[in-house]
C-alpha cells in the first residue's frame, strides 16, 4: 500500500513538471493577446502571441489565434501558415479546419489534387481524430485495459468465459498498438518540415536551383507545397497535382 502511494506521488509530480512550462509571464501575454484581438487591434495581438512563440512554446490554441489575427490583417499567406501549424499540432481542431477553408478560398492558385489511395485516406482520417498526445494517452489506457482482461482471463470464470476474455484482451492490445503507432506518426509529422506555404505574392518555380533556370510555373501566396529536397537557398518542391520544381527558400515558409 505504501509502495502504491509513493508511485502515485511520483506520477503527480511528473505530470506537474510536464504542465509547469506555462509560467505567469506567458499567461499574461496570452490574455493580453486575446484582449487585443477582441478589441480589434490585430497587429498588437500578433505581437503578444509572437512573444509567446519566441519562447519556444507552442500550442494549437496559440497557432489558431495567430492564424485568426493574420486573417483579420488580410495576410492570407500567414493565416494559412498558422492554421496549418495548428492542424499539425492538433489535427482534430475543427475551428482551424473551418477557418483554413475561409483563408484558402481567397488564394489565387487552384490546383487539382491527386487523390490518395482510398485506404490511406481512411487511415489518415481516423488518425486525425485525435492529437498525438491524445493517442498516446489512449494507448496507455488501452494497455491497462488489456492487462486487466488478461488478469480476468487468468483468474476468473469457466472455460468458455476465459476464451472470450482472452480474445477481448487480444483485440484491445491490437488497438493499443494502433493508437501507439498513430501517436508516433503524428509526432513525427509534427516535427517534420516537409510542407511549406508560399509567402510571397508571386513565387517563380524554376527548373533548376539557380536564377538562370527556366521558370516552369508561378505560385501565389497561400499555396501549400511539399518540400522534397533542400539545397543552398533553394528547395525542391512538389505541388498537390504532382508537378515539381525549385523555389527560392525566401519565398516559402515551413509549416
Amino acid at each position: 500500500m505504501r509502495k502504491l502511494f509513493t508511485i502515485f506521488c511520483m506520477l503527480l509530480f511528473a505530470t506537474g513538471l510536464f504542465a509547469a512550462n506555462a509560467n505567469e509571464n506567458v499567461n499574461s501575454l496570452w490574455t493580453k493577446g486575446n484582449e487585443a484581438y477582441s478589441m480589434g487591434e490585430f497587429n498588437n495581438a500578433i505581437q503578444y502571441y509572437s512573444k509567446i512563440e519566441k519562447q519556444g512554446l507552442v500550442s494549437a490554441a496559440l497557432y489558431y489565434n495567430m492564424g485568426n489575427a493574420y486573417y483579420r490583417m488580410k495576410e492570407n499567406g500567414k493565416a494559412i501558415l498558422y492554421y496549418e501549424r495548428t492542424l499539425k499540432v492538433d489535427p482534430a481542431n475543427s475551428d482551424a479546419k473551418i477557418n483554413l477553408q475561409f483563408a484558402s478560398a481567397q488564394t489565387l492558385d487552384k490546383i487539382e489534387e491527386v487523390p490518395d489511395f482510398i485506404f490511406v485516406t481512411w487511415i489518415q482520417t481516423v488518425r486525425n481524430l485525435f492529437s498525438s498526445n491524445g493517442w498516446a494517452a489512449l494507448s496507455l489506457v488501452l494497455i491497462g485495459v488489456t492487462l486487466l482482461f488478461l488478469l480476468v482471463f487468468k483468474f476468473v470464470g469457466g472455460k468458455r468465459a476465459k476464451k472470450i476474455y482472452f480474445i477481448t484482451s487480444c483485440c484491445i492490445f491490437f488497438f493499443t498498438i494502433v493508437s501507439f503507432l498513430f501517436s508516433v506518426s503524428l509526432a513525427i509529422r509534427a516535427n517534420s518540415s516537409e510542407s511549406a506555404i508560399v509567402m510571397n505574392n508571386i513565387g517563380n518555380v524554376k527548373s533548376a536551383p539557380n536564377t538562370t533556370g527556366n521558370s516552369i510555373f508561378v505560385l501565389h501566396q497561400g499555396t501549400k507545397l511539399k518540400i522534397l529536397e533542400r539545397a543552398e537557398g533553394w528547395d525542391r518542391i512538389q505541388i498537390k497535382d504532382g508537378r515539381q520544381g525549385w523555389i527560392e527558400t525566401s519565398n516559402i515558409e515551413v509549416i
Partner: protein
C-alpha cells in the same frame, strides 16, 4: 404690275392659311401672332402678317421703322365649319397683311400690335428684322420662315417680283452643316447635333442621303421633319434659306477624341442657265429666265468631339447619370397588407442622360418577396438632353406583418455644372404591414417557414481558454512520462498478478486440506468395504458400501437409522443446499448397492469404480456439509 403682284401674293397667303388650318389648328384657345422673316435683303420687298383665330376688333396697327410700307394693312378672313361624326368644328382666321420694302441698312423694327380677339385683349411681341447689306435674297420667300410655305408657289412669286438672282451653276450656293451645341463634354453628357441644309438656290429634291455615323455615341433622333421647312438665316453677309434635316441627341459612350463621319447628300438644284435656249414665244411669255436642273453633292465637314472621362472617385451608388437630377421615393399606398402586392416608386427627375441611367440600389427587407424592377420613361429630348422623369418601380409582396424599414436610398450622378459627383438621398421609409386577409393565412404559414439563411460567413472566433502550451516538439509519446506510466502500468499488472496468484494459492491450500480430511473420513468409513474389495467378495462389498453410505448420512445429518427413507435423505440434503448432481449421484450409488444385494450377477467388474465413486461422494458431501 403691282396689282397683279398683290393678287398673286394673296393667293399665296390664302394657300398658306389653308395649310395651317388643316395642319392642326385644333386648339381653340385664342392666339394672335405675327409672321415675319428674320432677315431680309437690302431694299427687299417682303410681307408680314398678323393672324388670329378669332374675331378681331380694334386692330391697333404697329409702328414700323426701317422699312417703308408699300401696302397694308389689308384684312382678310377665312372661316370653315366641319361636321365629322356629328361633331361640329368651327375655325375662323383673320389676317392683317402688310407689304414692306426694307431700307438700305440696319434693322426693321415692328412694334407690338394689339387687338381684341373674341373679347380678349391680346398683343404680339415686338419683332426686329435685320437687313443684310450687299446681299439679296435668292428665293423671295414671301411667307417667311415662321410658318413655312410651299416651295412651288414661292418660286413663282419670286420670279414675278423680278428679283435679280445672281446664281450661276458653278457657285457654292448649297451647303450642309452639322452643328453641335458643344464639342467638349464629359462622358455621358448630352450633345445636340443638328443637321441643316443651307441654300440660296431653289432645291427641287434630294437623293442619296447618307446621314452621319456617330461612332462611340449613343444617338437618338429627336427631330425628323416630314416636310422640309425652309427658314431664312443669315450666314456671313448672305441670306440663306435653311432647313433642319435631322436633329440628334448624342450621349458619348467612349472617351477621347471622337470623330463623327460626315453626312452626304445629292441635291437637285435649279439654277439659271447662263445662255437662253431657243427663244420662242411661250418661253418669253411665261418665263423671263431659263432654268436648268443641276445635281449637286454636298457634304458636312468632319466634326470632332473631345470627351473627357468622368472623375475616378465615383461613389458606389453612381448610376451612370450625367446632368442634373433629383430623386424622390414613395410607396404606392400606405395601407400595405401582408401577401398583397405593393410597390416602391423612385422618381428620378431632371435633365441629362435620363435614357441611360440605371436603377438605384434598394434593399427591401428580406421578408419581402421581390420582383423585377419596372422602368417607365416620361421625358422629352431637348436642347440639354432628355428632361423629365424616369420612374423605377420596385414591386414587392410582404409575407408577414410588422413594421419594416427600407433603408435610406442613395443615388449619385455627375453634375456637369458643378463638375463633381452629387449624391441624392431618399428615405428611410417605414413600411407598416398589417395582417392580410384570412384566405391567405395558410399560405403565410407555409411561407414563414424558412431555412435560417446565412447573412454572411466569417471565420470562427479565437480560442479563449487555457492555451495548454508545451515546448516545441515535445510530445507525450516521446516523453519519459509516457514510458514511466507504461512501466507503472506493467508493474501494477505484475503486482496484481502476483497478489492474485498468491491469493489463489492460499485458497487452494485450504481446499486441499479440507479434501484431505474428508477423504480420510470417507476412507475410514469404507475401510471394511476396501478389504472386501481386496478379497473380491462382491456381496459383502456392496452390503458394506450401502451400510457405510447410510451410516455416514445418518451421522452427518443426524437422522435416525430407522427414519432412513429415500425421500427423507433427499429432502434433507436439499435443505443443506447440496447440488442436484451430487444428490442423484449419491442416490444412484445407493440404488446400485441395493440392486447387487438382490441380483449379484455381473456387478463384480464395476466394484473398483463403485468404490472410488463412494469415496468421491462422501468426500464431496464432507466438504459441503459443515
Amino acid at each position: 404690275m403691282l396689282r397683279r403682284s398683290f393678287r398673286i401674293l394673296f393667293t399665296v397667303i390664302a394657300a398658306m392659311f389653308f395649310v395651317t388650318v388643316f395642319s392642326g389648328n385644333k386648339a381653340m384657345a385664342q392666339s394672335f401672332v405675327l409672321n415675319a422673316p428674320r432677315v431680309v435683303g437690302q431694299n427687299e420687298q417682303f410681307t408680314i402678317a398678323f393672324s388670329s383665330n378669332g374675331d378681331v376688333d380694334n386692330f391697333n396697327a404697329p409702328s414700323i421703322s426701317g422699312a417703308s410700307v408699300l401696302a397694308g394693312p389689308s384684312k382678310s378672313s377665312y372661316s370653315s365649319m366641319q361636321i365629322i361624326n356629328g361633331r361640329r368644328t368651327d375655325s375662323h382666321e383673320v389676317t392683317y397683311t402688310y407689304v414692306l420694302q426694307a431700307g438700305s441698312s440696319g434693322t426693321v423694327r415692328i412694334s407690338a400690335a394689339s387687338a381684341n380677339v373674341s373679347g380678349r385683349s391680346m398683343s404680339t411681341r415686338p419683332v426686329s428684322i435685320s437687313i443684310v447689306a450687299g446681299a439679296s435674297s435668292q428665293s423671295g420667300q414671301q411667307s417667311s420662315g415662321y410658318s413655312g410655305g410651299n416651295s412651288g408657289s414661292r418660286q413663282q412669286a419670286d420670279n414675278d417680283y423680278g428679283y435679280s438672282t445672281p446664281v450661276s451653276s458653278g457657285k457654292a450656293d448649297v451647303f450642309m452643316r452639322l452643328d453641335l451645341n458643344k464639342t467638349k463634354v464629359v462622358k455621358g453628357e448630352p450633345i445636340i447635333a443638328t443637321l441643316k441644309i443651307y441654300t440660296r438656290s431653289n432645291i427641287t429634291g434630294f437623293e442619296d442621303i447618307k446621314f452621319p455615323v456617330f461612332n462611340g455615341f449613343w444617338s437618338q433622333e429627336i427631330e425628323t421633319p416630314q416636310n422640309i421647312n425652309f427658314t431664312r438665316e443669315r450666314v456671313g453677309n448672305q441670306i440663306y434659306s435653311s432647313a433642319v434635316l435631322r436633329k440628334y441627341m448624342l450621349l458619348p459612350q467612349q472617351t477621347g477624341k471622337l470623330t463623327i463621319n460626315p453626312a452626304e447628300l445629292v441635291c437637285q438644284v435649279q439654277v439659271v442657265s447662263s445662255q437662253r435656249r431657243s427663244r420662242n414665244l411661250f418661253d418669253d411669255f411665261f418665263d423671263s429666265d431659263a432654268y436648268s436642273l443641276v445635281k449637286k453633292k454636298v457634304a458636312t465637314g468632319r466634326a470632332t468631339v473631345y470627351v473627357s472621362p468622368l472623375p475616378g472617385n465615383a461613389p458606389a451608388s453612381f448610376g451612370g447619370g450625367v446632368g442634373n437630377f433629383s430623386m424622390s421615393a414613395r410607396l404606392t399606398r400606405q395601407d400595405i397588407k401582408s401577401n398583397e402586392a405593393a410597390s416602391l416608386i423612385i422618381d428620378i427627375n431632371g435633365t441629362g442622360n435620363l435614357n441611360l441611367i440605371s436603377a438605384p440600389a434598394v434593399t427591401l427587407p428580406s421578408d419581402f418577396e421581390k420582383y423585377d424592377v419596372k422602368t417607365t420613361n416620361s421625358f422629352t429630348n431637348g436642347a440639354s438632353g432628355a428632361s423629365g422623369k424616369k420612374t423605377f418601380e420596385f414591386p414587392f409582396i410582404p409575407r408577414s406583418e410588422g413594421k419594416f424599414t427600407i433603408p435610406q436610398i442613395d443615388y449619385s450622378y455627375y453634375d456637369i455644372s458643378q463638375g463633381r459627383y452629387v449624391t441624392l438621398h431618399a428615405g428611410p421609409i417605414t413600411v407598416n404591414v398589417t395582417k392580410g386577409t384570412a384566405s391567405n393565412s395558410s399560405y403565410v404559414t407555409a411561407a414563414n417557414q424558412q431555412q435560417v439563411s446565412n447573412i454572411g460567413e466569417d471565420i470562427r472566433y479565437i480560442a479563449n481558454g487555457s492555451p495548454r502550451l508545451a515546448k516545441k516538439g515535445s510530445f507525450l509519446i516521446v516523453s519519459w512520462l509516457f514510458y514511466f506510466i507504461f512501466v507503472l502500468i506493467l508493474a501494477a499488472f505484475y503486482g496484481l498478478y502476483r497478489y492474485l496468484k498468491n491469493l489463489v494459492a492460499i485458497n487452494g491450500d485450504i481446499l486441499r486440506s479440507k479434501n484431505k480430511r474428508a477423504n480420510k473420513v470417507a476412507k475410514s468409513r469404507l475401510k471394511l468395504a476396501q478389504t472386501y474389495l481386496g478379497q473380491n467378495k462382491v456381496q459383502e462389498f456392496y452390503e458394506e458400501l450401502h451400510k457405510a453410505l447410510l451410516g455416514y448420512i445418518s451421522d452427518k445429518l443426524s437422522i435416525q437409522f430407522a427414519d432412513m427413507q429415500r425421500d427423507t435423505i433427499e429432502s434433507t440434503l436439499e435443505e443443506k443446499k447440496i447440488g442436484k448432481d451430487e444428490i442423484t449421484g449419491f442416490m444412484k450409488l445407493l440404488d446400485d448397492c441395493e440392486m447387487v444385494r438382490y441380483s449379484p450377477e455381473g456387478a463384480a467388474g464395476a466394484m473398483d469404480a463403485q468404490y472410488e465413486n463412494g469415496v468421491k461422494i462422501i468426500s464431496d458431501l464432507e466438504n459441503k456439509l459443515k
